[in-house]
Symmetry: C2
Subunit: 489 residues, 2 copies
């Protein structure tokens, strides 16, 4: 065998082990007995060490030096492997170990600080995490921009500057839209209690309606819904709420979007570097277009209204138009994960600007809470009442995930681009959605985005599907049109 074949055989085994490690995480959130926690920590650590040793195996360097790509797929495989190898190899083992240890500790300190509403208790740990991540970024990128080096782990080839340009265009129109909405009467809310078994049945029906392949996946309950796995075994979870069945239904559709991406990748890429979603941003574009542009559309919610009436009887909403408004209700809130389509990105933009300033050193950790609270009041129009509703609400920074937040809004921007192209390609799509039939939409996404996996860069992936460079404009146009209609703006 040649160097390329040897490299790919080695890589395939690494990908298989990575799937095993990922499923261990799935098991922990869905199946693991509570008392197994200490042993599970050792199992996770052992798998992580095996995977890390493979990722820095010096043979990879030799194979890369000798491998000649013969086609676009091989070139893309080599690009991914080279990128990961060089990135991983640049981080000293001591620094990697310090990061693993400190973030694990910081996570616990954060959880305790959040429970106690005690920002000061968290800040020393956060300062240490920021310092270590900056050291890591410098090890990877030298004197180049540190935030870009971190961002690259989640969204290859994106830069803080290009994202900032996009987000800076997004912010004023979102704030303006939010303010216009706030002057209008709020839509109704659901009333009554919603049976759990009926929620789970309709949740599964929704998953199947959006093309989730249960022959290569399964649906379980978890505290925080997630999608897990690649290739032939892509599992999702959901949750229920007795008073808010939308939480269940739209969590499910969101995770089906992630899972459909993994399930939609061409079989030829199974257990190769191309066999998983290409970036967090593109991944989120799939979950978001399923959840929002399709799942919260007027046409689809018309169908869902009938399904919910069948499942639950009367829940206080008189007709499809009112239901559409209820589904898309914009309301004040502190929490990112509970935010509506209009305000969600404002939450993310706030975090992006603050974390970028933390990494550059423009913002000191000790000034973070004040900066958060000022910005929140500016963008949302009211004040943070307590740290767990403000600077301590998200887990990300305690785990060192700087550069992760912007991929949420990038995903929304990409979903806006894809939705515009999809509607151009299938002008009568609403006729399908009004029957609960998403197949032409999901097949379009599979054919134009999902099947390629990691073949192209994230931006090329969106450009290839839409025929245009990604821009925030389609998302803004979509939001202004949709919420203008609902709120009579």
């Amino acid at each position: 065998m040649g160097a390329y074949e040897d490299l790919m055989a080695f890589q395939r085994e690494t990908e298989a082990l990575s799937q095993v490690a990922g499923r261990l995480g799935w098991d922990q959130e869905t199946m693991m007995p509570a008392g197994a926690t200490p042993q599970r920590a050792e199992e996770h650590a052992a798998m992580a060490r095996v995977l890390h040793a493979r990722r820095v195996d010096p043979r990879i360097g030799d194979w890369l030096a000798g491998a000649e790509p013969t086609d676009a797929v091989a070139a893309a495989n080599l690009r991914h492997i080279r990128r990961d190898f060089e990135r991983t190899a640049k981080v000293p083992a001591d620094l990697a170990a310090a990061l693993a240890k400190t973030t694990s500790l910081a996570h616990r300190v954060w959880a305790e600080a959040r429970a106690q509403e005690d920002v000061a208790a968290f800040l020393p740990m956060l300062a240490e995490v920021v310092s270590l991540r900056v050291q890591e970024a410098q090890a990877i990128a030298g004197n180049a921009d540190a935030y870009d080096a971190l961002l690259d782990d989640y969204e290859p080839q994106a830069t803080g500057a290009s994202i900032a340009r996009m987000f800076d265009s997004l912010r004023p129109r979102l704030v303006q839209l939010r303010e216009a909405i706030r002057e209008k009467p709020a839509p109704q809310t659901l009333s009554g209690m919603f049976d759990e078994a009926a929620q789970l049945m309709l949740s599964e029906k929704l998953a199947l309606a959006f093309g989730y392949d249960v022959n290569h996946g399964r649906i379980d309950k978890a505290v925080h819904p997630f999608s897990s796995g690649s290739g032939l075994d892509v599992r999702i979870t959901t949750r229920t709420s007795a008073v808010d069945p939308f939480n269940c239904f739209y969590s499910t559709i969101h995770e089906v979007g992630h899972a459909a991406y993994e399930q939609g990748i061409a079989d030829a890429h199974l257990l190769t570097p191309l066999g998983r979603g290409v970036s967090m941003g593109v991944h989120e574009s799939q979950s978001r277009i399923y959840e929002n542009q399709l799942g919260r559309s007027r046409a689809f919610t018309g169908w869902l209204y009938g399904e919910m009436r069948d499942a639950f009887g009367d829940f206080g909403i008189a007709d499809e138009d009112s239901f559409f408004a209820t589904v898309n209700r914009v309301s004040n809130g502190f929490i990112r994960t509970e935010a509506d389509e209009v305000q969600y990105n404002l939450h993310v933009l706030l975090r992006f600007d603050l974390e970028r300033a933390l990494i550059s050193g423009d913002l000191a950790v000790n000034d973070l809470e004040a900066a958060w609270n000022d910005r929140f009041r500016a963008d949302f129009g009211f004040a943070v009442d307590k740290p767990s509703n403000g600077v301590l609400q998200d887990v990300h920074w305690s785990e060192g995930l700087f550069g992760y937040f912007p991929t949420y809004s990038l995903g929304n921007v990409y979903a806006g681009c894809l939705h515009k192209a999809l509607r151009n390609a299938i002008p009568d799509l609403d006729n399908d959605l009004a029957r609960g039939d998403t197949s032409r939409a999901t097949h379009w996404l599979r054919d134009n985005v999902q099947q390629y996996g990691g073949l192209r860069t994230p931006v090329e992936t969106i450009s290839h599907a839409t025929g245009a460079v990604p821009s925030e404009a389609p998302l803004l146009d979509y939001l202004e049109e949709k919420f203008g209609r609902i709120y009579g703006l």
Copy 2:
């Protein structure tokens, strides 16, 4: 750190990875979506290669050379590690690969041959498996007995000759007991249909009654019940049958016996070579004493009768004594896994003698079916009707598991020894069992057997608990007393 500490740290990580690989098997039988099979095969193979590489890591030899045991636990750890390392290192990589490949193929050929009732289609594969296993035994043991070398993998330090002496004493009294029973009227059978949900509820109640710790385990359904995992995460499975709820209940109690062994090992041995059951035979002794000597006792079945009446209403059995006879009904059958307490060991003894002759070369593969059928008629009194009820019924030989079968009956023999000692220690145990309370019995087993894990050899483990060298006599005395009482012999 010294050599011993380095070795144990390495070993601990191997044990953790081994737990991950085991849980992958659990997932496959309980949770995995059907379409994931091809990917799962690659995941299993990747984990197997990682584990094999660690087991032959040359550093183990260096650490072993430098390690000085400071106490009995350290000495036992070193004994286990040395034994595994030397055994694994002696088998050439080519031979190990050929065995993995051939047994995987032979398993498929066997399944097809069994479905087609075509012994001839399986024999060439079986001959190859036998030849490879003999080569493996010779690589391990040189000119010493090949069967002993294979047996040692499942029951360390046992020999074919010593087991044969024990089994040869067992056989005539078992045949005699079976013949005496056959002349008596058969007990009643259950009648009616048994609700699945009620079976699963009572099954869980039985698991808890026998001390299964669901904080460190869980119960799921599987086609073939099994127990899986060690330490803090020991899971069991069960199955139901609409006409035969005993299948569910006694499968559950059996697997709880295996799981209780793993859960009962002292926390100090977690993720060390002592942290799992010491041998297949001792493991089976726990599952069997839970299932049979305790679970099928007159006292416990009296309690179970009331529970089943509460769960299912009338099922055609008038009183506790009749129910005790029904639970322990002896009936003609071809299939080992469905056999009663009296005849089960006859099935195992047949296989032990035949596989020992196959490995020694005294029996040719081509003569195996005739030998099976002759022996079956001699021990069971009627003729095998088709290969799937005879020589093709068990999966073991296709997978190369020569030396595994005798551990089933060794387990029964050990259970007989332990039961005698248990009854001596707690003379009024039946008062507990008649209330469904097994706690004094299971605590005695935990304190005298389970907690020690792999500290002693298998025979020493039983001797330590019972104060006597293991012998087949207590099992025979128990069977003759119990079935004499049921059948009025």
